[in-house]
């Protein structure tokens, strides 16, 4: 059994993939509970799609997707924040416009610049192709996300729960808003090689949603979300190795399975507590 578990790691590329998968899974799952409780799923999806034109230009200039990580994330976050704040068409509509137009621009740029990108890998991830420098970058991004969330946790929580109350209390809510958008962008861009543009959303929201179903407190939901996210990443990677499946979709489906189990457990728990109330 242990031999079977260790078998994939006789290859260096599998060790790199495992570290990247764990780092991506953890990074997205730390921010997931904030994102789902703030209904930011659509925003996160738009962020992922908005990376396409930046990736097209970056790859054309000779950078890898991971190397583009931080600058691309900051650019996307600030751009999205400014557009949403300064248009009067409603947040959902503004996000929808950015989402589709940036994605379209990305494809046009790929064609115009004649960039050689495997679109399937970009859309659904190709973790087996990560280089050693990619691993360092993704681990560094995870460290940044983790440290910033720890340092600003109370302020981010206050702002997310009651933005007006936080502003009245004297917190810099504009800074907190952009800080969270940048963190989210960093996690998304840093995970593109693992799960791709289309599936990155699943790794952000599914582990967090499953955690919300099984625990009652926010801090615990972050811990459980990370547990579910990392479990999905590792299990997905194994499935990908042993059954020759695409890695990104495998991780996403494992996360979905965990969500279904959490959903069923939540239903059973609720039924149990209702029965107890009826009997008493």
């Amino acid at each position: 059994m242990i031999e079977l578990i260790l078998d994939p790691f006789k290859y260096d590329f599998m060790i790199r993939s495992l570290i990247t998968a764990i780092a991506s899974g953890a990074m997205l799952s730390i921010l997931g509970p904030f994102a789902i409780n703030r209904n930011m799923g659509f925003m996160a999806d738009a962020m992922a799609h908005a990376t396409l034109p930046i990736i097209a230009v970056g790859v054309f200039l000779g950078f890898s997707i991971s190397e583009l990580g931080v600058p691309a994330a900051i650019l996307i976050a600030i751009l999205l924040g400014i557009i949403i704040k300064n248009t009067n068409v409603g947040e959902d509509t503004a996000i929808g416009i950015i989402f589709s137009s940036f994605f379209a621009l990305g494809f046009v740029l790929i064609s115009l610049l004649n960039v050689t990108i495997n679109l399937e890998d970009l859309l659904f991830g190709q973790i087996l192709a990560v280089s050693t420098s990619d691993v360092y970058i993704v681990v560094t991004l995870l460290t940044i996300v983790l440290l910033v969330v720890i340092v600003y946790f109370k302020q981010l929580l206050f702002y997310s729960f009651d933005p007006i109350g936080a502003e009245v209390k004297g917190l810099n809510t504009t800074f907190l808003n952009y800080l969270f958008l940048i963190l989210l962008s960093i996690a998304i861009v840093g995970s593109l090689q693992t799960v791709g543009i289309i599936l990155v959303l699943s790794m952000l929201i599914i582990p967090a949603a499953a955690a919300k179903l099984v625990v009652d407190t926010f801090v615990t939901s972050i811990k459980v979300s990370v547990l579910f996210g990392v479990t999905s990443s590792i299990t997905g990677l194994y499935l990908s190795y042993f059954f020759n499946l695409p890695s990104g979709p495998s991780m996403s489906l494992v996360a979905t399975t965990i969500f279904v189990l959490a959903f069923l457990s939540n239903k059973i728990r609720k039924k149990g507590s209702l029965a107890t109330v009826t009997i008493s």
């Binding site: 340092v151 600003y152 109370k154 929580l157 007006i164 936080a166 009245v168 209390k169 926010f218």
Partner: protein, 264 residues
């Protein structure tokens, strides 16, 4: 003479002098004048869109004035940002966060510094004291989702108390809570007021204001009246605020029209 009277004598705390707020070209407040003494308990009444929340936002330093001045203890709201406690309307808060009562109250002590200046024990003591004051000390570790509407309102008031500010702004504190909970919240406000805090409450309920509040500020974009509820809540003021809906208020026994008086 009780403590409250001593505190409030001739000590103007909040002064609005021709205060105007516009959203684009639309006026939200026009030339509002009033002066609230320290330690007063003031009801802010008026129709929807009458400027109650706008005034609170201006007092909290959230929106700038377009004309006039608004001062708190001689300073602009922006200068005293963070020293005014604000309990916003409940629907402006994201209740989907699975937070404990303790976490919400602790927000009142959260500062913009990266690390809180208070020691953990001091923070816990402040949270406990604030929850004791609102009668929810036994709920300290409960999830906010398990609380009733009235209890949630009291948790937000506890958060405001933990902030240790002299002025409390409560926007629609009585909305979406039953009559019993309204009574509880009013009793709580009375006890906070006895500690010398100045309290402004935006409310739609104009019944028995003279029994509950020291003063009333009647707003319909402009200041229709300000003063002792028993004196200023005349049929004319009610009509100025609510226009064609005045009859709804005229049916209340404590509003007597001149016509009613002449029939006596």
């Amino acid at each position: 003479m009780d403590t409250k009277e001593v505190n409030s004598i001739n000590t103007p705390l909040i002064i609005s002098d021709g205060c105007c707020v516009h959203f684009g070209s639309a006026p939200a407040l026009e030339s509002v004048d009033f002066s609230i003494n320290k330690g007063k308990k003031v009801a802010v009444v008026g129709p929807n869109g009458g400027g109650k929340s706008t005034l609170f936002n201006a007092l909290a330093g959230l929106i700038p004035l377009t004309e006039g001045s608004l001062t708190i203890d001689g300073k602009s709201p922006d200068e005293v940002r963070g020293t005014v406690s604000y309990v916003p309307q409940k629907d402006l808060i994201n209740w989907s966060f699975p937070l404990s009562v303790k976490q919400v109250v602790e927000m009142g002590i959260t500062s913009k510094k990266m690390f809180n200046v208070f020691k953990r024990k001091k923070i816990n003591d402040k949270i406990k004291k604030a929850l004791q004051d609102v009668g929810l000390e036994e709920k300290i570790n409960d999830n906010i989702k398990s609380l009733s509407g009235g209890q949630l309102q009291r948790v937000l008031i506890a958060r405001a108390l933990a902030q240790d500010s002299e002025i409390l702004l409560l926007d629609e504190a009585f909305s979406a809570v039953d009559i019993g909970a309204q009574e509880d919240i009013m009793q709580l406000i009375d006890s906070i007021n006895l500690d010398g805090k100045t309290i402004l409450i935006a409310t739609h309920d104009v019944n028995n204001l003279e029994e509950k509040f020291d003063e009333v500020l009647c707003l319909n974009k402009h200041c229709c009246a300000y003063g002792d509820p028993a004196e200023v809540l005349t049929p004319e003021v009610i009509e100025e605020m609510y226009g064609s809906h005045t009859e709804l208020f005229m049916n209340k026994s404590h509003f007597t029209t001149e016509k009613d008086n002449s029939n006596d």
